[in-house]
Symmetry: C2
Subunit: 147 residues, 2 copies
């Protein structure tokens, strides 16, 4: 999957995520991920993520989904972790610009260990490993998570 | 803004949204919208939408935002309205494939009348009309909203 990864991105060191932002991402049960479809139109889905605590979000998606097609085409994925309340002083959001890598073997096993631990309900929907993505955070923005 | 609208889309009649889906979209206080950035990468933001009850979602976004740039470039916007619960039998989502039109005048006024009515808290953040988008639904998918 090395071809998916733009070298130019790796050469720019990412500003590390502050602790409050790491906790916000790690604790969120759901996020939304946007990709670009084959026809150039945007696509997005809700997905249940796990976070390695540093710079990688893991998600597992349908192998033939439009999101999977978008990842195979470009590898650019935007991840939005947000929290809505009717009291708008409490709105929080983190936008993570990521490069996706399809992971297998040990890294997929580690991701799935985290998924099974964070989401014990995975068994209620017979969720088993499909296309597991490591979303490597290259840049980020946040609103309301950090003062 | 006619140039933003692909004629080919308008020639395909949209399958009307079932009542349960209209209510789900109308009642949701937040949705996420995905666009494509100038550099081809996906982008997404949370936004508070109103719905005309038929086929148009209205949102109001920053005029210089990356989302606004994406809309001006292509006009394709994906709108995700979803509901998360830890009980995964209760997950619901509607994905709306839309064409964006920037609206002004009477249509913008009607949109803002709905925004002020649905979100009385708009005044707490001094939210006034900026770039108001009519997101015309051309196609849609749903999961869990309709049995």
């Amino acid at each position: 999957m090395g071809g998916l990864f733009r070298q130019s991105f790796r050469e720019t060191p990412m500003k590390p995520l502050p602790d409050a932002l790491r906790k916000f991402v790690a604790d969120s049960p759901v996020c939304r991920i946007a990709t670009v479809r084959d026809d150039g139109a945007p696509h997005l889905i809700p997905v249940c993520p796990v976070f390695d605590g540093e710079s990688t979000v893991y998600v597992d998606i349908g192998d033939r989904s439009a999101s999977a097609q978008g990842v195979r085409k470009s590898g650019d994925v935007a991840v939005l972790v947000d929290h809505y309340e009717d009291d708008w002083s409490q709105l929080k959001a983190a936008l993570l610009y990521c490069r996706a890598e399809i992971v297998q073997g040990d890294e997929q096993d580690r991701a799935w260990h985290m998924i099974r631990e964070k989401f014990p309900q995975h068994s209620t929907v017979s969720w088993e490993p499909r296309l597991t993505l490591a979303l490597r955070i290259n840049d980020w923005r946040q609103w309301g998570v950090i003062d």
